[in-house]
Symmetry: C2
Subunit: 151 residues, 2 copies
DNA sequence: TTGCATATATGATTTCAATCATAATGTTGC
DNA sequence: GCAACATTATGATTGAAATCATATATGCAA
């Protein structure tokens, strides 16, 4: 990606949406599907974005021939894996307030609260309420409507 | 890994345990930490296991020099990423019954129900109850105590 | 500027998972 | 065999998140 931000979204059977991955400038999206023949999710631009498309064969050749490229791609994969593990850890936090606070500290609230709620597996209402309670407790600040920051 | 099964477990601040990864024969554990200086989780043998330890430098050299090794390792990473995404999708299913059924279909119940419950982010009681209800509804079968199978 | 859609926000209600208990059933080591 | 422990299983209670509802604010387009 040259600029902007895109999200990989999957629509579950139960009708919910799951944000699988968010890629910003310099990141790649859908690298993980390099080794899969098919992969079902939508790529949604969250901002105006410029994206470069690469043919799978080109990338696979690069992996085989260019060890530096290969190593750096592997590093990204490893970072993604560690990120997913952290996110799984987040998802096991039972209380909405605790989960929201932990997710905030991890920098998950970049876009809208709706997206944030979806990313951490809570209903948006529960998320708004948790944010309100955290503001009331002085744990976080809300400089303006819709913006939340560490206290 | 030469044989057996080990699990990577993280203990969260809230005192819960999260199963981050389960590695069986032929799999690797903790590959994702190749690019991290430190990584905090426990590796627990779920069965008698034989594990080969490799020095990080050796593996990194192999990645740089052996493109076949590099590609196959990358494939594993990609598969893990896809696995984590699916697991995240599972975790967003709100009703215990639905989540348990989906997780069963994905083949998550290999060990004990306790481990299964931990893997899908439910209390073991909720998991047992969901399993019971699914059996009562005829969606799954329980040939013997502690074993559950697709109907 | 006026609709229309969406995001933000909170109230009321219901549902259901977490939690606390208890018991039966396996499993392991002595 | 038996004692200690873990797993399986279910009941009762509680708390909290999902859901439904409503209102306001905001952005966007006609």
């Amino acid at each position: 990606m040259q600029s902007g931000r895109v999200a990989l979204i999957r629509h579950t059977e139960s009708g919910h949406k799951v944000t699988l991955h968010v890629a910003g400038t310099g990141d790649a999206a859908a690298e993980a599907s390099l080794f899969s023949s098919a992969y079902h999710c939508d790529c949604i631009a969250m901002e105006d974005s410029t994206v470069i498309f690469l043919k799978k064969t080109v990338v696979m050749d690069l992996i085989a021939s260019d060890s530096e490229f290969s190593t750096s791609l592997m590093k990204r994969f490893a970072e993604q894996i560690i990120g997913y593990r952290r996110r799984l850890e987040l998802m096991t936090i039972p209380r909405a307030e605790d989960r929201v606070l932990a997710a905030l500290a991890d920098g998950w609230l970049t876009g809208s609260v709706m997206q944030f709620a979806s990313a951490i597996g809570l209903s948006h209402e529960a998320t708004y309420r948790a944010l309100s309670r955290l503001v009331a407790k002085g744990r976080i600040k809300r400089p303006v409507r819709g913006r939340y920051e560490p206290a």
